[in-house]
Assembly symmetry: C2
Homo-oligomer: 131 residues x 2
Amino acid sequence: MGTPQLTKNQSLVMGALAHSEGPMSAYTILDKLRDQGFRAPLQVYRALDKLLEYGLVHRLESLNAFVACTCPHEHEHDHGVTAFTICEGCGQVTEFHDEAIEERLSALVRGQSFKTEKTTIEIRGHCKSCA
Amino acid sequence: MGTPQLTKNQSLVMGALAHSEGPMSAYTILDKLRDQGFRAPLQVYRALDKLLEYGLVHRLESLNAFVACTCPHEHEHDHGVTAFTICEGCGQVTEFHDEAIEERLSALVRGQSFKTEKTTIEIRGHCKSCA
DNA sequence: TTGCACACGTTATAGCATAACGCAATTGAT
DNA sequence: ATCAATTGCGTTATGCTATAACGTGTGCAA
Ligand SMILES: [Zn+2]
Ligand SMILES: [Zn+2]
Ligand SMILES: [Zn+2]
Ligand SMILES: [Zn+2]
């Protein structure tokens, strides 16, 4: 299955994230959308749940925040393991993917007979400009 | 250098984590330590900050929880990148380290001229018993 | 003695996330 | 068409996670 038509709330949240420079918390999104009628956190969280499910948005666990997916290709397939660099200086987040890491992690985890459902890789530090 | 003598609060928090089967949130730790005189979250968070700094404890970003480090060796050196498998069924957390992943990530990040300060790798899924 | 660093205690507040209720619109049988 | 199931939506209330800001006491060095 691909991505279904987004509902109004989902589109608004997606738009807010897509036009944002960096990651946003759910409450920041809420504040951005008050003028479009948003009143309560659940409106944001429910939209985010769907967008995460569709793979249009990623959650940054170490930030309790969300970013629009920056994958170039269409979102009609699982894009395996996603990793992020997160600059503590300017807040810039860069998404990247790597087969080698994915396979190495997969092998290690197989050794534990562990069944992976979701992998989080987040690298905090400073980007080139903020070094 | 190395790990200084722990204060009373730090020892209590460390003990609670070391004797726990799985990860604990700061508030769960607080509840476990009420009988030893803990009254407020900050008592826990301040101790955790130090224990994290000394490398005796790890924070699980995807759980907002903490675990005692299970590294076999002494804690007198940085143990590079730490990764975890986290079972959604039984809560079991397994810490592991891998040079190959560390170097691959390091190379990828160097390509962005990014300076790493902290790396988070957490794999959620189900362990052998909970498959 | 004075100043500093550090741990500690307490109260209050900020920030993140979900439970539980009810309603409305959609879909897809029967 | 009708009914049931699903899904999205709005609202209120609540719970969980983390830190700000203040003051105290202790140990140690200048
Ligand atoms: Zn992506
Ligand atoms: Zn930067
Ligand atoms: Zn460790
Ligand atoms: Zn398990």
